[in-house]
C-alpha cells in the first residue's frame, strides 16, 4: 500500500505558511522564538475563533491549508501528535486554581487543556466523523500519529488522512525547561546551529498538517515508504541498517539523510556518529536550525523533506556537508528526542 503526501500546511518560526516550497530562512540568535503567525482573522470565522486558543487556531488553519493544498475535500481520519496540547490554557487553569484556591474557575481553559481538543476541534470544524486519535509520546508524538495512520492505510480502513503535529512554547514552559538545561545559554547563530558545539537546543514551536492519500496526482510531494519507531535502541546504527535492509535498500541508495540536529552537542553527536558509520559519502542535511526544537518538530522535517523531493532541490542553507545529491529518490529522516525516542522515516519520489 503506497501512502502519498498530497498537501501540507505549516505555521512555524519561518515564513512557511502558504509558501510554495522552502522559503528563504529567517535566522535567530536567541533560544526562545515564537511562530510567524498569519493574520488569523483572514482564515477563521470570528465567532468560532473567539474561544479558541492560539494553538487550536494554528491547527485549524494549517489543517484547512493542507486540505486545500491536497485537493482532497474530506479526510477519512484525523490523527494528531502533540507533546503538550494547549499548554497555554493548561497553565491558565492551573495558575487560576492555585491562586484562587480552587474557586472561581472557568471551564474553557480546562476544556482546551485536554490534548485531544486539537483533533476534535479540527473534526468538528470539518464535520469529519472518521477515525480520530491523539498521540502524546513526547518528542516522537508526530511520528506516532504517522505510524498509526500507515497501519490504517495498510488495513484499507482509510483512503486519506489528515496527520498533524502541534505544539506551542509558552514563556513559562520555556522557563521550566530552561531550568533543567534544555536550552542554549551560550551565544549562537541559528544558521550555524549544528556546528555550535555547546549544550542545549534552540527552542521552537509549530503547527504542521499533512494530508495523506493512497492515490497521487501531478502535485503530489512524495511517498512515505516506511516508518520505524524505536525506544532506547541499543545500537542505532544497527537499527538503521536493519530498517534499510527491510526496505531493500543499502545506505548508498539514500540520496539525502536529514537529521533532527537541534544544536545540543550531546544529542547531535549521535547523528554525527551515524553519519560517519553509514552516510559519510551521502548528502547530509538538518532542519531544526530552521524549526527550533519542540515535541512535534519532526512534522517540520517531513514538510521540508517532502518539498526537497518534489522540487528536486536541496537548498544550501539546510545542507551540512555540501555534497550535492545526484538523485532525489530516497531521503531518510532520522530524529531522536534526548537519546530515548527515535524515529526513522523513509520518503521517496513518486
Amino acid at each position: 500500500m503506497a501512502v502519498y503526501i498530497r498537501g501540507i500546511g505549516n505555521i512555524s518560526i519561518q515564513n512557511t505558511f502558504l509558501s510554495t516550497g522552502i522559503p528563504q530562512p529567517v535566522w535567530y540568535n536567541e533560544p526562545y522564538v515564537r511562530c510567524i503567525d498569519p493574520d488569523f482573522k483572514f482564515f477563521l470565522n470570528p465567532l468560532d475563533a473567539r474561544r479558541m486558543s492560539k494553538l487550536i487556531k494554528r491547527a485549524i488553519i494549517t489543517a484547512k491549508a493542507s486540505i486545500s493544498d491536497s485537493g482532497i475535500e474530506m479526510p477519512d481520519a484525523i490523527i494528531s501528535g502533540t507533546g503538550l496540547g494547549s499548554i497555554d490554557d493548561t497553565e491558565k487553569f492551573l495558575t487560576s486554581m492555585i491562586e484562587n484556591d480552587e474557586k472561581f474557575l472557568q471551564p474553557t481553559f480546562f476544556i482546551q487543556s485536554t490534548h485531544n481538543t486539537i483533533s476534535s476541534q479540527i473534526a468538528i470544524n470539518l464535520k469529519c466523523y472518521g477515525h480520530n486519535n491523539t498521540f502524546v509520546q513526547g518528542g516522537i508524538s508526530f511520528e506516532c500519529a504517522l505510524s498509526e495512520t500507515m497501519m490504517l492505510f495498510a488495513d484499507n480502513k482509510i483512503k486519506s488522512a489528515l496527520v498533524g503535529g502541534y505544539d506551542e512554547m509558552t514563556p513559562a514552559y520555556f522557563k521550566l525547561l530552561d531550568r533543567i538545561g534544555f536550552w542554549k545559554k551560550e551565544p549562537f547563530a541559528s544558521q550555524e546551529l549544528s556546528k555550535s558545539n555547546t549544550n542545549g537546543a534552540m527552542a521552537g514551536e509549530g503547527s504542521v498538517s499533512v494530508v495523506l492519500s493512497d492515490s497521487k496526482d501531478q502535485k503530489t510531494y512524495a511517498e512515505i515508504k516506511a516508518l520505524d519507531l524505536l525506544y532506547m535502541p541499543e545500537n542505532i546504527t544497527n537499527s538503521i541498517f536493519d530498517f534499510l535492509q527491510r526496505n531493500n535498500l543499502k545506505s548508498s541508495d539514500i540520496d539525502i539523510v536529514v537529521a533532527g540536529m537541534n544544536g545540543d552537542n550531546k544529542g547531535d553527536s549521535i547523528y554525527w556518529k551515524i553519519f560517519s558509520e553509514l552516510f559519510s559519502e551521502t548528502s547530509q542535511a538538518a532542519f531544526k536550525h530552521l524549526s527550533g526544537e519542540y515535541f512535534t518538530s519532526a512534522g517540520f522535517g517531513v514538510w521540508m523533506t517532502a518539498n526537497i523531493i518534489r522540487s528536486k532541490f536541496l537548498p544550501s542553507f539546510v545542507s551540512l556537508n555540501n555534497i550535492i545529491p545526484g538523485k532525489y529518490n530516497n531521503i531518510l529522516l532520522i530524529n531522536h528526542y534526548r537519546n530515548k525516542n527515535y524515529s526513522l522515516i523513509l520518503l521517496s519520489a513518486c
Binding site: 486554581m97 472557568q106 476544556i111 485531544n116 477515525h131
Partner: protein, 403 residues
C-alpha cells in the same frame, strides 16, 4: 486481518481493589469504591470520588522505589497494574523480544505539577518533576521501571484514551511490528481534573446512578489497568494461558460538540458498528455491553440512543460499572476492558449499581442484579471521550482457554 490478537494477562488497580482478584470480589459482592476523598488534598471534600485505597508511600514501598524519586501517583498505579499483568502472563520484558508498552493518560504528571508549579517557576527545588510533567514521560517512567521495552507510545483522547491504546496495541501485533504489547492506561485523581469536571457541572454530589432517570452526573475515580496482548504464535510458543481474543474495534468521531455527545449518538453508533464489522459478528451475537455509562444526563441518553441504533429490538444485557469504580477517565477504557474480560472468563454479568427507574427515551433497562453462570461468548466495551472521541472494542471467548 493478518494476525489474531490474544489477551494473555490482566492487571488492575482501582477504587474496588488493588489486584485482579480483589476487583473480581468487589464486582461479585456489589462493593463500590466511591466515597469521601482521603488521599487527594482538595477543598471539594463534598464531592465523592473512587480512590485507590493506597497512599503514595504504600505504593513506593510495594514497588521498592525510593520515595524521593520523580514518580507520580499516576505512574505508581501504572507500575502496579503493569506488574500484575506481566506476572499473570508470565512475562519479563527483554530486549530479545518484540515487546512494546502502549499507555494512556490525560494529564500526565499533573498530580505533582499542581503541587510544585510555584516552585517550578521560582526555584530549583522540584526540578526533577519538570521532566515528568508531559504524558509521554509518564509512560516512560512506567516502562523504565521494568526495562526491556523496545517500543513505547502514549495516547490521549480523554476518557477513551486507554481503549484506543488497546486498539493501537492490537494493530501493532496484527501488523507484525510487535509480538507482545502491554496496553492500557493510568490516571490518578488530581485537583486539576476534579476542578475541571466541577466547572463543567457534571459531578454528582451523591453516588452516581448510570442509566437512571434521576442521574445527576458522574463520580470521578482513579485507577490503572493493562492487558497483555499477544500474537497467536508468541502465545503458542510460550504456552501462554489465553483469556480471550480482541476480535474487533472501531473508532469514530461524534463531531458534535467539544464537551457534549450528539442526541442521536452518531459517533458512538459508528464506533460500535465498526467494531462489530471488524469482529465479523452480528449484533445479536453480542452477549453483554459494558457501557461507558458515566451517569451524566447527556452521555447516558446519547449512548442509549446509539445502543438502540445498533441493536434495535434485540438489546443485549447492558451495564455501566462506573458506580463501582467511579469514572477513571483515561484509564476507564482499560479498567472496563478488564471488567468485561472478567465477565467473559468468569461467566457473570456485572450489575449497574444504583439504578431505579428507566430513562424515558430509552427502550432498555440495565442489568441491576449480579447474574452468575451466564455463558458469554462476545462482549462489547464502550469508551467515549470529550470531543467525540468514541471507541468500542469487542472481546471474544477463546475455545482453547483455561477450561
Amino acid at each position: 486481518m493478518t494476525e489474531r490478537v490474544l489477551v494473555t494477562g490482566l492487571g488492575i488497580v482501582s477504587g474496588i481493589g488493588n489486584t485482579l482478584e480483589e476487583t473480581l470480589n468487589s464486582l461479585l459482592n456489589g462493593r463500590s469504591g466511591v466515597g469521601i476523598v482521603e488521599y487527594l488534598k482538595t477543598n471539594h471534600t463534598d464531592i465523592p470520588c473512587s480512590e485507590v485505597k493506597l497512599s503514595d508511600s504504600e505504593m513506593f514501598s510495594m514497588l521498592s522505589i525510593p520515595e524521593t524519586s520523580p514518580v507520580t501517583r499516576t505512574a505508581l498505579m501504572g507500575i502496579i497494574a503493569t506488574r500484575e499483568a506481566l506476572t499473570k502472563a508470565g512475562i519479563i520484558p527483554d530486549r530479545s523480544m518484540k515487546i512494546g508498552f502502549v499507555s494512556a493518560t490525560t494529564v500526565g504528571g499533573m498530580e505533582k505539577s499542581e503541587q510544585y508549579y510555584p516552585d517550578f517557576l521560582e526555584n530549583d527545588s522540584r526540578n526533577d518533576f519538570i521532566k515528568v510533567h508531559d504524558c509521554g514521560a509518564c509512560t516512560e517512567v512506567i516502562a523504565d521501571y521494568f526495562g526491556g521495552f523496545s517500543y513505547v507510545s502514549t495516547i490521549s483522547t480523554a476518557c477513551s484514551s486507554s481503549a484506543n491504546a488497546i486498539a493501537l496495541g492490537s494493530n501493532l501485533i496484527r501488523h507484525g511490528i510487535l509480538d507482545i504489547v502491554i496496553a492500557g492506561g493510568t490516571e490518578c485523581l488530581t485537583k486539576f481534573h476534579l476542578n475541571g469536571f466541577n466547572t463543567l457541572m457534571i459531578l454528582d454530589r451523591a453516588h452516581c446512578r448510570p442509566f437512571d432517570a434521576s442521574r445527576a452526573g458522574l463520580n470521578l475515580g482513579e485507577g490503572a489497568a493493562y492487558l497483555v496482548l499477544e500474537s497467536e504464535e508468541s502465545a503458542r510458543i510460550r504456552k501462554a494461558n489465553v483469556l480471550c481474543r480482541v476480535s474487533g474495534y472501531g473508532n469514530a468521531c461524534d463531531s458534535y460538540h467539544q464537551t457534549a455527545s450528539s442526541p442521536d449518538g452518531k459517533g458512538a453508533t459508528l464506533a460500535m458498528t465498526q467494531a462489530l464489522e471488524m469482529s465479523g459478528l452480528k449484533p445479536d451475537e453480542i452477549d453483554y455491553i459494558n457501557a461507558h455509562g458515566t451517569g451524566t444526563i447527556n452521555n447516558d441518553e446519547s449512548e442509549g440512543a446509539a445502543i438502540m441504533n445498533v441493536f434495535r429490538d434485540k438489546i443485549p444485557p447492558v451495564s455501566s460499572t462506573k458506580a463501582f469504580t467511579g469514572h477513571t477517565t483515561s484509564a476507564a477504557g482499560s479498567v472496563e476492558a478488564v471488567i468485561s474480560i472478567l465477565a467473559l472468563t468468569e461467566n457473570f454479568l456485572p450489575p449497574n449499581l444504583n439504578f431505579k427507574s428507566k430513562i424515558e427515551k430509552l427502550s432498555f433497562e440495565p442489568v441491576t442484579v449480579l447474574k452468575r453462570n451466564v455463558k458469554l461468548k462476545n462482549v462489547l466495551s464502550n469508551s467515549f471521550g470529550f470531543g467525540g472521541n468514541n471507541t468500542a472494542i469487542v472481546f471474544s471467548a477463546e475455545n482453547f482457554s483455561k477450561n
